[in-house]
Assembly symmetry: C2
Homo-oligomer: 239 residues x 2
């Protein structure tokens, strides 16, 4: 059973086509946080932008709605900053860089500790990968070498954010997303949830709810993938 | 300078659209090998197929043209098999799995040794990634955790096989290939050569030649990428 203290918002993408950063999911975020203080973790550095730049984009998106955002990089004592956080948001970017940075700073166990103490955790993309067992189903390029692929392990499965269906017209011979996840299942047993852009999971009271307008794709070893519609996930789906 | 003993065929993809396995590049392979004995390394296991299945597909492609193919997995003493090889082909699949397997079997240094002794090395896709400095620019999913991202390092740069141009009509928010390589260059200094499907590098006498009908894309830190046409690569291009 998922720890009943966990409060998680596991977002496939921060931005959908034709909409600003976090705009499409803003109402859900405001409803989820239940605090106006947000500690942002900018370590995934999308496109290599700086921690300050990345934090500023979150401030721009959420300050107008009464949320005070601070960047974890700006604290000298980062463990203390996490222990004092009212809510945590780990943004997207490169999952390898994100996980390596958290391990190097010794913050993995600290984040686990506060989330087990009911601090809301919001992740998008790379930050959502981290809520699963490992980063073994990230789409990112391995630009740096983390000391482990083990993630925060709040959820008993793996995530594939930005899940993308195969393009029936493609002549490209690189692997499709589904082929990659099938390869993953030759060497790993956990369920993988492919979350399309515009979908997210909300986890509270040991219940996982798929939200957004799209279905999600569920992969298990040696089984044909299935599509699930938005709503509460039966434990059989992800076990 | 590239070791003058190296003889390398660095292929972006084994298969192009509308053509059989290795078919489009068969003449080049036969010309390159200069032997009829080929040791095939099936460890990258595309789509998770078995070593036997994978080796059979190489036999099917090359036996009719007089090449005897044996799979490295079938030798009890794999180091000895490599030391006795007349030519080596490392096929595509999952780069993480391939590199992890070679490290675990202790074969990295053995392969380096024979290639430094003029044994021809042919790689496609994941097998081509391995000719560069690291696997940090693979497109693959990190389905297993290798003990290092360091590759065979025959070439003083990194490869990105199956290089794919951004789709101007895409509404998907996942990173483009170019964005990913730019992220790589925030943390790594080596040149990255994006090899499109249907392109390959042939390396002999310290000379690198880009072959096939397409241009290749050259990425360096803090520089606008450039396209190079087929032909001999000036050292300035990849240094």
């Amino acid at each position: 059973m998922i720890n009943p203290n966990y409060r998680l918002l596991v977002i496939s993408t921060s931005t959908i086509h034709g909409s600003g950063y976090l705009e499409y999911i803003r109402e859900e975020i405001l409803d989820f946080l239940q605090t106006n203080e947000l500690l942002f973790v900018p370590f995934a550095r999308p496109s290599g932008i700086t921690h300050d730049e990345y934090t500023q984009s979150v401030k721009n998106a959420l300050n107008p709605f009464g949320i005070n955002v601070t960047g974890l990089h700006s604290y000298e004592n980062k463990k203390e900053a996490i222990l004092n956080a009212k809510a945590i948001f780990i943004g997207g970017g490169n999952t390898f860089l994100l996980l390596k940075t958290l391990y190097e700073l010794g913050l993995i166990d600290t984040i686990k500790e506060v989330v087990a103490n009911e601090i809301p955790y919001m992740g998008s993309s790379a930050g959502s990968n981290l809520t699963g067992l490992t980063i073994g189903t990230t789409n990112d390029m391995p630009i740096v070498y983390p000391p482990s692929f083990d993630a925060l392990q709040f959820l008993p499965f793996n995530l594939n954010p930005h899940y993308l269906d195969p393009d029936p017209n493609s002549t490209h011979k690189g692997e499709t997303r589904e082929t990659r996840i099938n390869e993953f299942h030759k060497f790993n047993t956990q369920t993988v949830i492919g979350l399309r852009e515009g979908s997210w999971l909300r986890v509270e009271n040991s219940v996982i709810e798929l939200k957004g307008n799209l279905t999600a794709r569920i992969f298990k070893p040696n089984q044909i993938p299935v599509e699930i519609v938005a709503g509460i996930l039966n434990e059989e789906i992800y076990k």
